[in-house]
């Protein structure tokens, strides 16, 4: 899956990658590769601006540490980020169920 196909869902995917604990940019990318079995073909550099945008929105919080003599920025979910992730997951399930029903000609499951 390429970056443009992920457009609109990148925030949710990044929040999900941070759900297990704090991670730096490269570790976020590695977590996404592992969770998707390598099917997410995203230039690593593009996730850094996205992480800054999520930080500005108060959904994650960044902090610096020093690892092996290099400064490293790690991100962790905030309470608002956890709520946003939960909402985005629910939205995605609705969206996926609706589009699957439309594409496969099945009845859409009752959301209630």
């Amino acid at each position: 899956m390429r970056a443009e196909e992920l457009k609109g869902h990148l925030d949710a995917v990044l929040l999900a990658a941070l759900e297990g604990g704090p991670r730096h940019g490269y570790a976020v990318m590695e977590a996404l590769r592992q969770s998707t079995g390598g099917r997410l073909d995203l230039p690593t550099g593009t996730i850094y601006p996205a992480l800054r945008r999520l930080e500005q929105a108060g959904l994650i919080r960044g902090s610096w540490s020093v690892v092996g003599g290099r400064r490293r920025r790690e991100y962790r979910l905030t309470a608002a980020g956890r709520r946003a992730l939960s909402g985005k997951r629910a939205d995605w399930r609705d969206f996926a169920a609706t589009v699957s029903a439309a594409l496969e000609g099945r009845l859409c499951p009752d959301p209630g």
Binding site: H24, Y26, P43, G45, Y48, P49, Q56, V67, R70
Partner: protein, 190 residues
């Protein structure tokens, strides 16, 4: 080209456009990517080529950062307040017959030119697609708008003897904008 040289050249492209703290973060990620390819058995040159390719076009990364630049966001917010604050002051100047105030012509022209310069700086910060010049223009614009509002409030207090509702409205609008300028300045400087 040697592996580390390819990586330092890539980082130099980013450093020309982005603040040092962002470049540091990207350098850490790129070093991790490079090391990961070395661990997979690639030669240093191949590992560097793969790491750089995996990171993507540095100009595209810089452009993405420019879109989330706090200077751009702050400048847009301050520009959006312009018509409201300006309208409040226009009402005060008209009802207070400002043309009869004993303000020397050079001071009036100086204030007008400063206002236009600050608006120009904020517009540049809001539209520039390069982080560093946008941040510099944003800092100057935020400080400029805070100074203009402070001068306007002080001048009104000295020039208008009786407090009116219109005056309170204009001063409240400017005070709120000074607070917004300070709030916008903080993320640009950190």
């Amino acid at each position: 080209m040697s592996g580390p040289r390819l990586i330092s050249d890539y980082l130099a492209v980013l450093a020309a456009e982005l603040p040092a703290s962002i470049v540091e973060e990207l350098a850490d990620g790129l070093a991790e990517t490079y090391r990961s390819h070395l661990r997979q058995g690639l030669a240093p040159d191949q590992a560097a080529e793969s790491a750089v390719a995996e990171f993507g076009d540095p100009h595209a990364i810089a452009a993405d950062f420019a879109r989330v630049n706090p200077a751009r966001r702050g400048a847009r917010r301050l520009l959006a307040t312009g018509p409201v604050v300006g309208g409040c002051w226009a009402a005060l100047l008209i009802t207070g017959r400002a043309w009869a105030w004993p303000v020397p012509l050079p001071a009036r022209i100086g204030f007008g030119l400063t206002l236009l310069t600050v608006i120009g700086l904020l517009a540049a910060a809001a539209l520039w697609t390069r982080c560093r010049p946008a941040a510099r223009a944003g800092i100057a614009g935020c400080l400029g708008i805070a100074a203009i509002d402070t001068i306007a409030i002080t001048s009104a207090m000295l020039a208008i003897p009786s407090v009116t509702l219109v005056m309170i409205g204009a001063m409240a609008a400017s005070t709120a904008r000074v607070a917004l300028s300070v709030q916008s300045l903080r993320p640009i400087l950190t």
